[in-house]
Every structure is written in C-alpha cells, then in structure tokens.
C-alpha cells in the first residue's frame, strides 16, 4: 500500500523554469514532510522539510507548499539551474520523532541549459 503518492515520475524544464513536484497522502497522522534530493551515485540528502502547522516554507530557491485539507504538498524550484538536475523524493512520517519515513517513488528532474 503506497502511502505517499508522488508525481510526475520525470520532468524536463528549461533553465530558469519553475518545476513543480506534487505529493499526496492519506494518513492524517503524518506530522512531518521532508523532501530529499539525490544526485547520481550518491545517497539522498535532506533538502527542505515542513510541518502541517504552516502552509509554506522557503529555503533559497526551494519552496514547499502544504495543503492540509487536501492532504497534498508540493516542491517548487524557482529559477531552476542545470545543477538542480537530480531525483527528488517526498516523504512523510507519523508517530512523532519515533516514526519511520515513508518515501514517494521519486521524480527525476532534468534542467536543460
């Protein structure tokens, strides 16, 4: 049973574009929603995270938008650069700091020069 649904599977944008990756969940007990970025040959690394008590969080060019009523959250990358080309995973966690992360299936982003 997939608890975090991520789309699209792949995404191609031009440099300067704003790619948007979407995730949806069903479990209302989820209380922490991180995004991880993975470059080829490397392990994933935390990019940005949000809790359900806020609707938006920005860190540099990366923004998470969170819609608690719709049980959806999304990652926006402003002014995307070729160096942003990577696979992005959304995730969710229930059970407070003791819970395990459940990952989406990932989105492979390519930013063309």
């Amino acid at each position: 049973q997939q608890q975090v649904k991520q789309s699209p599977q792949s995404l191609i944008v031009q440099k300067g574009g704003i790619p948007i990756i979407n995730c949806a969940y069903e479990n209302t007990a989820f209380d922490y929603f991180p995004w991880y970025q993975q470059f080829p040959g490397k392990g994933p690394a935390l990019l940005i995270a949000i809790r359900p008590d806020v609707s938006e969080k920005k860190e540099g060019r990366f923004t998470i938008s969170f819609n608690k009523s719709a049980k959806q959250f999304s990652l926006h990358i402003m002014d995307s650069q070729p160096g942003d080309s990577a696979t992005y995973f959304c995730a969710a966690r229930a059970g407070g700091s003791q819970g395990n992360l459940i990952f989406g299936k990932g989105t492979k982003l390519s930013v063309k020069p």
């Binding site: 922490y32 040959g41 490397k42 392990g43 395990n100 992360l101 990952f103 989406g104 299936k105």
Partner: protein, 114 residues
C-alpha cells in the same frame, strides 16, 4: 567527517549465496536504517534499529536480517540471495528522538544477483 560508510560499493553475487552489506556511522546516531532503491519504486525500508540492541522490520524485510551490536555498525545480511534482491541498498542514520532530525544516507551498495 565521514558520516555513513557503506561497503562494498558494488557486488555481483550468485543466486543462493550469502552476503553481508556493511554500514558504519561516526555521528553517534541512535537510529539506523536500511533502504533498497529500485527504479520506479523509490526507497523502501527493509529494517531499522532505534538503538543498539534493538531492531525492527520495515516494509520489505523478507530475505534480509540485521543486527545492531553497537551504536556505530548496522550490517545487513542476505542469507540466500535471489535475483529479486538486485537493487541499490542505502544505509542511513538519524538522531531519533530529536525533532526534525534528518536521515543521513551513505552512498549505497549496488548489488546484482545473477
């Protein structure tokens, strides 16, 4: 700081053979995890350990075993490998119990079972 060290980086294994994937962390994190990554399936949790001496099953534990004899090491063993275990395996750690503590991943072990 090394963070998470995984070994080997890649391995080809004959079906039916056993193998242990090694994972060591130097961050003194209490929690450690093993994930497998498959194209189109994302990251799936195999086993985890909240603290030394304890382990738990994740989403896809069958065919795998783990042990956590100390804080730093968390080996993953395949007792009798099958081709469906061909995957990239990632070890991770976190300071579980600390709010918003992220997972720190190693660079993975690419395993091919023939």
């Amino acid at each position: 700081t090394a963070g998470i060290t995984q070994a080997p980086t890649s391995q080809i294994l004959a079906a039916g053979r056993s193998m242990t994937l090694r994972c060591t962390q130097d961050m003194r994190h209490n929690a450690m995890y093993w994930y497998r990554q498959d194209l189109g399936l994302g990251l799936r949790l195999i086993h985890y350990s909240n603290t030394a001496g304890t382990t738990g099953k994740g989403e896809v534990p069958d065919g795998y075993s783990v042990s956590r004899a100390n804080t730093d090491d968390f080996p993953l063993t395949l007792a009798s490998a099958v081709p469906s275990q061909t995957s990239v395996y990632f070890c991770a750690s976190s300071a579980r119990g600390a709010a918003n503590s992220p997972l720190h991943f190693g660079n993975g072990t690419r395993l091919t079972v023939t």
